[in-house]
Amino acid sequence: MSGELSVLAIIVGIAHSGLRLATPYLYAAIGEMFAQRSGVLNLGVEGIMLMGAYSGFFVTFKTGNLLLGLLAAATVGALMGLAMAFVSVTLQAQQGISGIGLFMFGLGASSLLFKTTLGTVEGVEGFPELRFCLSSLGLNSNYCLSQIPILGEIFLRHNILVYGAFALVPIAWWVLNKTTWGLSIRAVGQNPQAADSLGVSVARVRYVTVTLGGMLAGIAGASLSISLLNIFQENMTNGQGFIAVALVYFGSWAPLGVLAGAMLFSLVNALQLWVQVLGLNIPSDVAVMLPYLLTIITLAFPFRRALQPAALTKPFERGES
């Protein structure tokens, strides 16, 4: 038992870890949300994340340039998203199974590339934690905003990709609800025939959303390999991509819902780590189980009904009734 730790310090610790843990889930789940809102279930997120994590890491490792690494991750992710779009929109393949195919390809290809180009686990200098120090503004003070009690300690000690993930939520909300594009996406996912008759290109919308989803999944991978862990290891995402897909369902296909789901899951995960660290008398297995258990229980409360896009997983062909 570490008696010196105050309850406040623990709460700060949980919140801080929760924000970090939520980061990859947010990128991947928001991207997946766009794809699903337009009617495409992409189960290959995990594979894209792995490829993103690898390419982001590799480019950073070789060039030392983090932005290039991020760009590489986003590009590779977008390309894999494009491939998924081609398979599921143009070729109208069964989406669940093609997603699994994409996942297996990403898992295998990222490991193969790792073996042939790196061969061993290496480290890089990832995106640094920002501290918002006054000195960086040219002020003659060594005070940093991250030292502000509680709020600063929770919110102002993260790297740029963590902030990016949270900034994505309102942006996604705005795009989805306030722009013509968002309207098209929703229309295509809800009633592609009607959207088509109104002159919206169903295929184009789906191509864009799935590619965007892939790009964000790639960045999700990079947020692990070049910002939170700063290493690449085979299969390092360990199922996070699938949880991201599940979080889209949890969040009822809305950015705020996804945020709520990602935060709930991550906070409880951070909590269980603290439960173990504090040596509370709970078996470690039971602690690890907590986030999964609580997610199910939360969903069992009938506070809302899921609004699944009506055309989800259904390929569209003009002239179909």
Binding site: M1, S2, E4, L5, A9, I10, V12, G13, H16, S17, R20, L21, P24, S111, K115, G119, T120, V121, E122, G123, G126, E129, L224, L228, L229, N230, I231, Q233, E234, N235, M236, T237, N238, Q240, N269, A270, L273, W274, Q276, V277, L278, G279, P283, S284, D285, A287, V288, M289
Partner: protein, 358 residues
Amino acid sequence: MSKRLFWPLTLLVALALIAAQCAAPATEAPPPAKTEEAAPAKTEEAAPAEGAALDIEPIRIAIVMPSTTTDLAWSQAIFDALLRIQEEAGGEDVVEIAYSETMFNVTDAAAALRDYAADGYDLVIAHGTQYGSSLFEIAPDFPDTSFAWGTATDTGEGEGLHNIFAYEARAEQGGYVNGVLAASLSKSGVIGVVGPVEAGDAKLYIDGFVAGAKATNPDITVNVSYTGSFGDTALAAEAANTHINAGADVLTGSAQQVVGAIGVAKEKNVPWLGTQSDQSPLAPDIVVATQLYDWHDTLLDMIKKHQAGELGGTAYQLTLKNGGLTMLYSDSLPEEAVAAAKEAEAGIISGEITIDIE
């Protein structure tokens, strides 16, 4: 719809079978091929003498591992040792190594083990406890092949098997030394441990670690957390972060997932104590000490026993005493800390220190 794919697939299977049948004669060949391989092997007996330090006859070794040869942990430790033996013995002509990695699926691993044995490999290593049941079924069919299995203590003598070696690492010994070191290094009085699943090798190591830390400083706090998985790199990283937030200024952990935790330790500049494989290449300034699993002597002894006609029956232990566990210390460590650690090493070797584990 259903019928349409049924037939193509049947056809596909049929084609595969036909192809297999065509190819069958090729697989009939192995018996002569095997003797061919054996024959040059004998003539090469003189070869190792040229520059080889190891006095062993040519041998073919196969290993099946649950994770990768580059995991910086369990699998890499033994694979590195094999490569070292190969190098010392005079290269691939003397020691031929074949490996199958990421054989987490036991069914696949069993197929690989049988296949290697059937292929005429002399020593077939099953580098995972979970392979035991399969190994015990396969071993009787290949009475001339030696098998090795770890972590394990059971050589199958009870079931009438005589061609199985068993091996295990007494991880608590190096864990104890690392614990002593951690307690000497820690200024905050808090140490963090990132474990995988609370069992087996990891539990031994961590129990030893806690005992060592407490023996050095009874007031020290050792916080232990488990991720519930061997490969959850991201959660291991966050566990390390949590330990640091809880005041830990020295960290340790076990299994292939810890590379994530080392990444965080590196970023936060917190010293890391490693186990299993040497993790210092990943973060030379951070990984300040390692309990290295050195399988070299164990494997060499198996090879020699095999070549002397003793195909199994020995259960090996890696200990500090027999050199199977080696402590690596970084030069950056303070002298007193290393002195305390070396004293603990000597105490364990002489038997003065006994480690109580649950």
